[in-house]
Amino acid sequence: MQKILIVEPDKVLASTYSAFLSKNGFEVFCSHNAQDAMLKVDQYKPDLIILELRLISNSGVELLREIRSYPDLNYIKIIILSMVKINNLSNNWFRIKDDFDISEFLYKPETTLSELLNIVNQIVVKNVTS
């Protein structure tokens, strides 16, 4: 079973995404902040991280930087699912995408649960075959 770590500070949203992805055959873990996320990455070795950029105390970009600083975690695919709109990041987006090897950037309000599932399935299947 593929493992997904959801890093989402809002408890209600986290449980919604977690419930949906679990029902669709994934083993899902949740973190609500960057520190706990790093502990869970270390403990559960997820295949995919779904990350909100707006966290408490740290930004999601700092967490990305930390995860990508460990070469043995490079196998983990990352999807950003955020309240931040991509055009708010403007040119920084391409740098972030390349520097941190982001698979997809999704704007939360415009991404339905079904769409998220499709994207997760595509990324996870690609990862397995590669």
Binding site: D10, V12, T16, F20, H32, N33, E52, M83, T112
Partner: protein
Amino acid sequence: MLQYYKNEGYKLMSSGNQNKEIYASTINLVEQLKLPFLQIIKQLELSTFDAKLHHLNNAKISAEYAIKLIDNYILSLKIENQEIDYYPETFLVSTVLNNSAQYLENLAKMYGVDLKILVENKTTPVMGNRIILESAILSVGMSLVEAVATNAKPTLYFATHRSRHGVVAGIYTEDIKISAKLLKEGRKYKGKSSQPLQNLLYSSGAGIFIADNLFNSLKLNMLVSKHKNLYGLGAILNCSQQLKLV
């Protein structure tokens, strides 16, 4: 003539500052409202897959509190624009804290947060406006529920205690050390940042800023307060002198 233009200039400056403040507050509130709307959308989407009633209930709760936040914001604007006159009255703070905690119960339950009332035995009646104070405390509560929800045993304390300046009333937590610096920076970045209270909240914290405005309308300052080992947000209320006249 010169004095006339000077006065008009000051009026324009102060109306400019007022507009900036309204802009910042509105942006802050609108940013905050994305969260309950998103919760509603996702809960409804999820309910189409597994048809569980609690998703619909959660969507209802998110909607109710979003509307309450809007109502509190409208109240703060109307008082500022002197569209509402309020009359000071004497009341017990414990009543306000009880009412606010009761109102917040559903939201707290949705987030798994425990609410407790801590009232010292001898608390004198205070002077102010009960409705505005309740709205302010409730607004603070809405933000703090979000802030503490992900802690191990999240609890909010609706507390009142005496200080040498008066009766302090507010909402406290032992999970987060809220600092005066955090509040000061939050006020500075309100409307400019989508997370002005980044070390406390992932959202824009509109509840706290609306409470700030409501406390100001009562000529009170919202401040960071420490009570025993708890940190919180509240205000110092004036004791009622009425009973002393009897």
